[in-house]
Assembly symmetry: C2
């Protein structure tokens, strides 16, 4: 992506064409009271919020959710959104209401927190290894018949079955098949043997397989992403075919993400994409490009951080109150909406440092700026609440239900 | 710092010579129950905790607190530890019990949270700008006569005085004088004018000045750090002298940090160092060196993150459950204690990826590793609790009182 085209896009209002097949029910009446003075906040302009504040534009959120539904409606592929991105029971419920086949979580504590807040269809994409996590997973399974967990290792399958037996349940399991070298069982005989083992273990029920390719989501350029992600996925497809040929249950064949949501539909047998970031977007995803150009405009940036100008004493510099604890250190840098010439450095824990040659206005101490965030998942994990706005006014405040749930 | 000397240090038990002038009262009986099953956790080995877990070695913490006290005891300089590092009322109380002249906070919400948990002597080092934050600061001042706040801008001084008047208080204020170009009023006539204005405003009481040099703390090599930080501080010293000569109150002249705790003592008139990281240490501070060598051994690494091995299928690679949400993206990378050949990449949100050529043992799925963290402040901000251990067993669980308090 060239800098100028990116800046042109960002200088204009960042948005996408609205999808019209399905519009989710408007979000009204959500509430939480233990962190924020709701009465004082409701109806407030996002520009008047104390900062740093995490702001979610509900129109854009709903548009993104509708767009994903519409895009996949004519295919055989469903969506099982990954809640590691939003950690929000409210958003998970909107996604389920939009037809998601379920929700994914990365961590057991995320699954517990979402279930405790009314989300039922949960697939945990990481294995539970310790005795205590396995016991808790089984106790969650006992309360929640729609809880599925991943396994990528024989001993773990045995441990899960033993714990399921002790808990008096049959636990639903998918095998996690590796794409790359990070997690999962390699896509060879070992995957088939693991699937067969799970199938035979008395207290496990094999539901199919996951294969997530984290590295594919941010390949720049649609064609490169398309070709490389399908090539990288060949091992997973072979594993799926062999499982099917062996008579194993393959009702779930899940993977992919926001970057490949319209590519994974070409994978034979594939059932659902684990899209996460599409609800929010971020500077990282804007850069990957789509079929039409260098900016990924399929979804609208709905999530921003509001920050306040703290210091303007120094020429061509502005200091703000949003640093690494508010924005993380992810690259690319935060984008200041409306100021394409601003270079934002969030490298300091407590302060943002902007350098610029040209500004569209003269900034004073106390002025607010709105930022598109570098990478949505870890930024969300820094905040307790979303300030949910419509037409820039606070309509609701949602808790980040599973914030900090990293175990 | 050469890699080998760093690795030699890390391969051995990381520690410091104990300071013996003053030993803080042992920490017993702290408790919190809303996040952790305390009964089940107490007495547990840190190696049995579910992960990722933030672990604090109380012996090392106490040793660090004692060492700072001892180092400054023979000087005219005190210490006003910065709570942005630990965000913990428990640790702030230990520091105050060790003779700290007060505690600093970066944010108003941190100050509120610490005060609500029994910490009184608080100096907020960032200005409060919005009407709502100013009102809250005054209401905090009303409850807490030991609350001091920073100001670096004339309009803000006026706003503070007006709000103090409306609240029926006289607010204690220090002017924040810039070192570098990030925050504070430039160290020239503008600083003196601001101090004079604060001095004259009816509802403000000038207490002195702050001047913090964030950039000086991590200059590598003691001599370079010593010389550069004193040179960079000359403007602040001149401002202090001019304030004093003008008859303004200069009872507070505060600044510095862990990297310059034994350098700022040479600054004439200087009253207290805002040391933060010394309680925990981290990979960033280990690298700065001290008077004796390339490793900063003045304080002991007391804070670590425990992580679990998730995947060992791939040659010369290990995947763990501690990624960017557990360790941040700060450099240098996390250090695996006892495995100097391990290169830990925390770049993925949910996973750590280790590459290695040689390991001291063969790792199995489920094994635990202990990590020295890259940079303590933002890592602490990811967790709800510290698991406090002595001889590797959990003695207490402390809340991260002001976690996520970024406003």
């Amino acid at each position: 992506m060239t800098k100028s085209s990116r800046r042109d896009f960002l200088a204009s209002a960042a948005g996408t064409g609205a999808a019209s097949f399905w519009i989710p029910k408007k979000v009204h009446g959500y509430s939480m009271a233990h962190v924020v003075d709701l009465k004082a906040t409701r109806g407030m302009s996002k520009w008047d919020l104390d900062t740093p504040a995490l702001v979610l534009d509900l129109d854009k959120l709903e548009q993104n959710i509708a767009k994903m539904r519409a895009s996949l409606a004519s295919t055989k592929v469903g969506f099982r959104p990954h809640a590691k991105t939003h950690k929000s029971a409210d958003i998970a419920k909107l996604q389920l209401a939009a037809g998601a086949v379920g929700i994914c979580t990365a961590k057991l504590t995320e699954a517990e927190a979402l279930f405790d807040n009314g989300v039922q269809k949960i697939c945990m994409t990481t294995a539970n290894l310790s005795k205590s996590k396995i016991q808790r997973a089984m106790s969650l399974r006992k309360k929640n018949r729609d809880f599925i967990q991943a396994v990528d290792f024989a001993q773990n399958a045995q441990d899960l079955s033993d714990a399921a037996k002790a808990a008096g349940v049959t636990a639903d399991v998918v095998i996690d098949v590796a794409v790359g070298t990070r997690s999962g069982v390699p896509a060879d005989d070992r995957a088939i043997e693991l699937a067969q083992m799970v199938d035979k273990l008395p207290n496990l029920k094999l539901r199919g397989m996951l294969a997530y390719d984290g590295g594919a989501q941010h390949i720049k350029g649609y064609k490169a992403r398309h070709d490389q992600s399908l090539t990288r996925y060949e091992g997973a497809v072979k594993t799926f075919d062999r499982m099917k040929a062996s008579g194993l249950n393959t009702e779930i064949f899940s993977g992919g993400g926001t970057g490949t949501y319209n590519i994974m539909t070409e994978v034979p047998g594939f059932t659902d994409v684990q899209v996460g970031s599409y609800v929010f977007m971020d500077a990282q995803y804007l850069e990957i490009g789509n079929e039409k150009g260098e900016i990924f405009t399929d979804f609208a940036p709905s999530l921003t951080v509001m920050t306040t100008v703290l210091n303007t004493y120094f020429p061509k510099r502005i200091t703000t109150d949003a640093g690494a604890k508010a924005l993380t250190l992810n690259k690319p840098d935060p984008i200041v909406i409306g100021e394409p010439g601003f270079r934002y450095n969030a490298g300091s824990d407590e302060f943002g440092s902007i350098q610029y040659d040209n500004a569209n206005k003269t900034y004073k101490v106390g002025d607010k700026l709105e930022l598109i965030i570098p990478h949505c998942d870890p930024v969300v994990n820094e905040y307790d609440v979303y300030y949910c706005v419509r037409n820039d006014r606070v309509e609701a405040v949602w808790p980040v239900t599973a914030r900090g749930k990293s175990q």
